[in-house]
């Protein structure tokens, strides 16, 4: 049975990552920004799993496990920050918080 070419799987990871970057740049809502960061982390994890599959090693999946842990902690802190942003500015616009003071 023919297997999926590695290039196609890596290309999929690249496309997903590019979509995540595009979303971070295009959207101004901070919840969407967090979602797009999740997309990017997931895409990089996919690249690791593809590499581990290519060489038949468990290391790629171990790296995905670490990325999963990092994503979980990042999203919990990020969402707490979203709540604080909304409490201070009554908006979810990231441009509302572009001043560094206090």
């Amino acid at each position: 049975m023919a297997t999926v070419p590695v290039e196609h799987a890596l290309m999929l990871a690249g496309i997903l990552f590019a979509l995540g970057v595009l979303g971070v740049m295009v959207r101004r809502n901070v919840v969407f920004t967090l979602m797009c960061i999740e997309i990017m982390l997931n895409a990089s994890g996919l690249a690791f799993v593809v590499a581990g599959w290519r060489w038949g090693q468990a290391d790629g999946q171990v790296m995905f496990f670490f990325i999963l842990t990092m994503a979980a902690s990042e999203v919990s802190v990020g969402l707490a920050l979203v709540l604080q942003l909304y409490r201070h500015f009554r908006t979810l616009d990231v441009d509302a918080a572009d001043k560094m003071r206090g």
Partner: protein, 169 residues
């Protein structure tokens, strides 16, 4: 299995594109869940069944539930009832529903028709992953637990209301 891979890849890309184009956050969240499920199917095809299960459980389960909770907290205005009526339109859930139905069809195909087709290439068993995690990577696992603890404390500290705010301690 190649067809399963390419169909899941198309679903992942399409639903991710819908995430960044959707106007309402909850609709985008539905598409994001479908995208993560599609990536989980891809993990299964690529011989990583343990990571596919983790993707569904932690990404599409726990992390997305966090997003939903925060959106619930942010949407406590008076317009919540009208928004609820809006969300029940078929237009809101038909797109993610159709994509998820295609994923379900793939799962049914994998389980029934082709007599348990093997994932393409080799499979890296969960046993190997666990042995690697608690062998050479044991320091990384400890550091991951520290990161989770730090995130727990940080989220608690950031999420609680200050003393002068209404509802604070």
């Amino acid at each position: 299995m190649n067809t399963v891979f390419y169909m899941s890849a198309i679903i992942a890309v399409a639903s991710t594109a819908m995430v960044i184009m959707e106007r309402k956050a909850v609709h985008a969240l539905l598409y994001l869940i479908v995208s993560l499920l599609a990536v989980a199917v891809i993990f299964f095809v690529l011989g990583a069944p343990f990571m596919a299960a983790l993707e569904v459980l932690i990404y599409a389960g726990a992390i997305m539930v966090l997003f939903v909770f925060v959106m619930m907290l942010l949407n406590l205005g008076g317009a919540a009832a009208g928004q609820e009526r809006q969300w029940l339109h078929a237009r809101a859930w038909s797109g993610p529903g159709i994509l998820a139905a295609v994923l379900l069809a793939e799962v049914v195909y994998v389980l029934t028709c082709a007599g348990w087709p093997k994932p393409t290439g080799g499979v890296v068993e969960p046993r190997q992953v666990g042995a690697a995690l608690f062998g050479p990577y044991v320091l990384g696992v400890e550091l991951a637990s520290l990161v989770l603890l730090a995130a727990l404390l940080g989220a608690y500290h950031l999420g609680r209301r200050a003393a002068h705010e209404p509802g604070g301690p």
